[in-house]
């Protein structure tokens, strides 16, 4: 498939993830495709159960059985990584793809000092000796904004506040200078004033290092301020993907429209929030055709039978029959 991006750092094609259960096979991701350009921040939004986190886990090969990648491919800098043997994948993970999880307390080992965790990670992925690794760990802590890093490096995780712990986790993700970072709800556990600091930090690190980031979050505000492009996910599929400005200001997909209208804003008076009836379908009962059809106000016959593919509309792509110019029903208002 031709693409306007020159050599994207990450390229996902028709990725499908299934969970085999006693009550049948559940499809958590259903043929999703997207690219992340070098130095770009791609936001992935959606409500719980949309498949945001599964996307992240599938890319770094952390889908646990009974889950499995049932189809499609993931390429990192042109090289296929979804079918690597576990040992080779371990070298990619951490070294070439960094990961930042939601809860900084669970992603740090409470029994080890910060220094031990950072130095171990650095030494696994590089050939620095202990003293060099320690110097590098201190430099990293300084870079992520921890005051007096040479003193704080020997502290335990519980001695840090939530925001500081998340900074340590970011330093940990940066240890091996990865080309690509997956940040899964990095600010959800933090207070607003701290959240703003962490967002600013992630943004400036990407700019300085040219690292690409996939930012997974349910918070549209965080995406609006951080991401260059955004993918809106619904029931394991991408509903709309495009430049963040366009998608936030003028969403096209009926679900994206509803989602944006549902968010109370700090600006402008909203007497009533837009309400999408119902809730996200369970994975065991995803409707035929377009997964959004039972909740959609502009649904028509075709939506019940045929799944819409992502089609280009201006600068973005939308998976909705309303925007298919071949469709006789025409384009929505």
């Amino acid at each position: 498939m031709p693409h306007e991006d020159t050599a994207p750092i990450l390229s996902v094609r028709d990725l499908t993830v299934e969970f085999v259960t006693r009550r049948g096979t559940l499809r958590a991701l259903d043929r999703i495709s997207f690219d992340v350009a070098r130095g770009e921040v791609l936001g992935v939004v959606g409500e719980s159960g949309a498949g945001k986190s599964v996307t992240g886990s599938a890319i770094i090969g952390l889908i646990d059985p009974p889950g499995r990648i049932a189809g499609g491919e993931v390429r990192l800098a042109g090289e296929r990584i979804d079918n690597l043997p576990p040992e080779a994948m371990r070298k990619v993970r951490g070294k070439r793809i960094g990961m930042i999880f939601q809860d900084p307390l669970t992603s740090l080992n409470p029994l080890y000092r910060i220094s031990e965790q950072l130095i171990e990670t650095i030494r696994v992925h590089t050939d620095l000796d202990a003293a060099q690794a320690r110097a590098r760990a201190i430099a990293l802590l300084d870079e992520v904004g921890i005051p007096a890093p040479e003193k704080r490096i020997d502290s335990y995780p519980h001695e840090f506040s939530g925001g500081m712990r998340q900074r340590v986790v970011i330093a940990l993700a940066l240890c091996a200078e990865p080309e690509f970072i997956i940040a899964d709800e990095p600010t959800t556990a933090l207070d607003v004033s701290v959240q703003a600091q962490i967002i600013a930090l992630i943004k400036s690190l990407c700019r300085e290092r040219g690292t690409s980031v996939m930012l997974v979050t349910h918070d549209m505000g965080v995406i609006a301020e951080t991401a260059d492009r955004v993918a809106v996910m619904y029931a394991g599929r991408i509903a709309e993907i495009g430049p963040v400005r366009d998608v936030v200001k003028e969403p096209l997909h009926p679900y994206a429209k509803g989602l944006m209208g549902a968010i109370p804003s700090l600006e402008g008076e909203t007497p009533r929030l837009v309400q999408i009836p119902g809730s996200m379908p369970r994975l065991s009962a995803i409707p035929q055709g377009c997964a959004f059809n039972p909740r959609c106000s502009q649904v028509y016959a075709r939506c019940h039978v045929e799944r819409p593919e992502l089609i280009a509309v201006g600068s973005r792509k939308v998976a909705c029959h309303l925007y298919d110019t071949r469709s006789k029903s025409g384009v929505a208002a």
């Binding site: 506040s161 925001g163 207070d191 607003v192 703003a196 549209m220 301020e225 951080t226 109370p264």
Partner: protein, 333 residues
Amino acid sequence: MTADPAPLVEVHDLKRVFDVSKPWLNRVIERAPRQFLKAVDGVSFEIRKGETFALVGESGSGKSTVARMVVGLLPPSAGTVTIDGVSMHDAAAADDRQRLRRRIQMIFQDPYASLNPRWRVGRIIAEPIRAFSLIESEAAIAERVGELLTLVGLHPDDRTKFPHEFSGGQRQRIAIARALASDAEFIVCDEPTSALDVSVQAQILNLMRDLQERLGLTYLFISHNLAVVRHMASRIGVMYLGRLVEVSDGKSLFSAPRHPYTRMLLDAVPDVAMVGKVRQSVKGEIPNPLAPPSGCTFHPRCPLVFDRCRSENPPVIDGVACHAVQAGRVAAA
């Protein structure tokens, strides 16, 4: 002040201190002093009938402790809560309070924890009716439960189901139906939508506003989400480290925040209207509440700090507790 109707809820100089000392033996052996945590330190506000008063603040600011003291779940260390002229904690008013109880209800944050998983929904909703002996006949109770379920957008037949058969949003509807079962007039909502997805949050917020209009409810609304608060509240109190730093009506708080903390908080919130804008960075984190800073607790992070702030706790004058504002050092923005 105009001749407003008498306030429904009056909170005067409310304080709550928690003893967080180590056990006696540890104190003796380690010579550790007793430790006290001032969770709420001199909070006063009024809520008029039919309005929504919101308390916002970051974690640890004491908002939930205030809510629990207002409904009488927690005795205050000092200060008074008066609802419709009846003291909530004075032993002498026990009889009056018993009659008042029916009119006060609470909605909690986590709809998974606040509903008894072993009870059917009908029994959950009928509990306040039976507890206050409002309706005698079983048939009439069943009819009332059906009415309440319809009122919150569920089906009367849902009464025979168990809570686990419902989604998070539906459970929160059940919690609202239970709160309304005793014809409550004043409802304390502690982060009612924090556990919900945005599209479901919109449904619940719309429902709460509709019910307020129809039934003339008064809400005390606790949230950390400023956008939600802006959408819901007619008046807002901002809390920081157990103190109320600013009280203002909803519109002017957002258009002309006065306290430096309010300004910082508003600057920090990621908002969908902020695409591509560069924001001011936020300084520091909430200090340890066990050892709060002297004077005004915000002074280490405050851009307007001067000598008086370090020694003297600013009183609330004209809705704002800040020496700099009171001394006219800042023009009201």
